[in-house]
Amino acid sequence: MYYMTGAIKLIFFLLALPFCAGLVFVPHDRSLKRIFHIAYIYGWLLDMAVFFPVSMVCIFFIEQNNFIYCVTVYAALQILLAIIGVAVFAGRRMRSGANGNTKAAMSDDAGVDEVDHSPSEKSATAVADGHIEFKPRGTGKVFDAIQGFSFSLKERGRRNFLEAIILWAIFGALLVFQLYKAVTTVFFDGDNIYYVVQSLIATQQGTMYREMPYIGGSTELDMRHALAVIPMWFAYLSEVSGIHATMLCRTVMPLFLLPFVYLIWFAVGGELYGVMSLHDDYSKPASERAADVGFFMCALSMLAIFGSVSIYTAERFLMTRTWQGKAMFANIAVPLVLLGVLWINREYKGWLLFLLVNIFSGMCTSLGVAFTAALICTSCLVSAIRNRKPSLVVYGMLVCIPNVLYMAAYILLK
């Protein structure tokens, strides 16, 4: 019962609220079914970006029992952002519906009719021609769930379709295996004695970064780590769900973080292969694109398991120290910046994503802001040259303003 209640609360605060907050970023003319994962990513980042100032104010300006203030204020803000997200999304859809735009735009965008162009599939005798088509129109619920893919078993579609199914099944099995091992396997790392205990101190003692984690007892504010507030975010989740902070970090969070990392790589893969992205590639059949992404995800998953070639690789950090800020920086912040890089090279504005990731990277690790700034500026410079758009350099520098402020604060507080 304890686990069930905790799980329900965690699903609400970790999945439902961020998703609702992310709805504010979904344009009126985009099908939510196709970019729900991007909406969730944006909502999650927005929630994290709001947690940063809330926790900072509580850490620096409230000395005693500051954690409860942080939890109360942030929970209220999280709920407020979710309400705003739902309200804005609903308002946009109603306005678009009233203007008669939504149905036409969404049906185009949903790609229901665009994949196979042979005349026969649109005719009433499609089945009689031996050309079997699956159309997600209400009755095709399974394929509604996979976003309007229209698989033709003619051409080379049969092999692509089967490959897509098999590859995604393999990826699913690999993911389930990784999640099982994450719950049942202990990876000893000394840094857990610091980070996990800081989360536990916040929930049990009510104070953030003012108690010595190794031996206990009050101490002055730990400036070096106080700006990296990811442990306090875990403490928040522990408090609202009622799950012990150590259990949450080491057993529960990998069940969220690992799929979330793969969700981000799925977004990247979607951009690369033109499926469920902001700019789908309709020149290739959907089944072929789905198979490409499936292969990409399987290969990434295998490399995550067997990429522990040294103690320094991002793969090693992902699997053995999943809940630590450094690992989240390498496996969440960096891929999100890479997603933004793909967007800006497609003329889709990724600036908000960069801004939110910059804030998040500072929460992960104090050095994160320097690294994301380096990656964004380098990527914008190269993209500006490749696309002949000098403005990209300026935009790249502007979105790194939070990084500069963070580093200044870090140096001043040290």
């Binding site: 393999i170 490409d292 499936g294 290969a299 490399l303 090693r316």
Partner: protein
């Protein structure tokens, strides 16, 4: 010039440490070359070839290392620059592109290479030490650590207790309950040791029990945990300690005299 060479040497050494067995970077290098030749899409070339090229160049440049040490971090965290390069994604995309006609066969081939040449995280080691073990509970700490905390807290539930225990247990008990304070902990191995002398007594070949209790009474220590494998100079009960219980490998005592004193001190006793 020599400092430039020094920084270059440092960068190469960092790269070698990062590479480990070398498998991941060799696979990445092959993938990079393949994509350089075969990838025609401009956006993908920018993403997989040109941006990483600049990052690799920046990583190897001595002035960048100098700047990093001077202004970012003087510790050994420069290897994290390599996290910015999409090594796995490049390899995965190259494999996907190469196998585009025959994906299942391609996946089998790629998987075989990865499994045979890679290093499984489930056999991960730090140096020669295996860091992987089976979880005994959802906290991912030894069951014995939980039993020790439960025993220690029997004396004064809901309030803070300072305990001294063998070093290996100090890594875990506070991950279960932060009401248990410690005489020493991980800082002893982190380079900023606590100078209360208890660590030296506890880690000696033969533990001087009376010396430990004497030092403990100066520092509000009221709980004592001894390993059954430890050689003790005397039976702790001879000095007034009372046995609370034992686990498979440890015996737990408390000092009633010190506990009474601790309970009288409001600032320590009050939760």
């Amino acid at each position: 010039m020599s400092s430039i060479l020094n920084y270059l040497q440092l960068n190469i050494s960092t790269l070698i440490n990062f590479a480990g067995t070398g498998f991941l970077l060799i696979l990445y290098a092959l993938s990079y070359v393949y994509l350089f030749i075969a990838e025609k899409d401009d956006r993908k070339r920018t993403f997989f070839i040109w941006i990483p090229a600049v990052l690799w160049l920046a990583f190897m440049l001595p002035p960048v290392r100098w700047f990093f040490i001077k202004f970012i971090d003087s510790g050994d965290t420069y290897y994290r620059m390599l996290w910015l390069i999409p090594i796995s994604a490049t390899t995965a995309h190259a494999a996907a592109k190469l196998s585009s006609g025959y994906r299942l066969i391609g996946l089998i081939a790629v998987s075989a290479v990865i499994v045979l040449c890679g290093s499984s995280v489930y056999n991960a080691k730090a140096g020669e030490v295996l860091i992987v073990s089976e979880a005994q509970n959802p906290y991912h700490i030894p069951d014995e650590a939980i039993e020790i905390v439960e025993l220690v807290k029997k004396t004064d539930e809901g309030h803070k207790i300072r305990a001294v225990m063998p070093e290996e247990m100090t890594f875990y008990v506070r991950q279960y309950d932060t009401d248990v304070y410690l005489a020493f902990g991980r800082e002893m191995v982190m380079g900023f040791p606590i100078a209360n002398g208890m660590y030296e007594v506890m880690t000696a070949n033969k533990v001087d029990v009376w010396e430990l209790i004497r030092k403990g009474r100066e520092r509000l220590v009221s709980a004592y945990v001894f390993g059954k494998f430890q050689l003790l100079s005397d039976d702790p009960e001879e000095f007034g300690l009372i046995k609370l219980g034992e686990t498979e490998n440890y015996k737990v005592y408390y000092d009633p005299e010190e506990l009474e004193y601790v309970q009288s001190i409001n600032y320590f006793y009050y939760k």
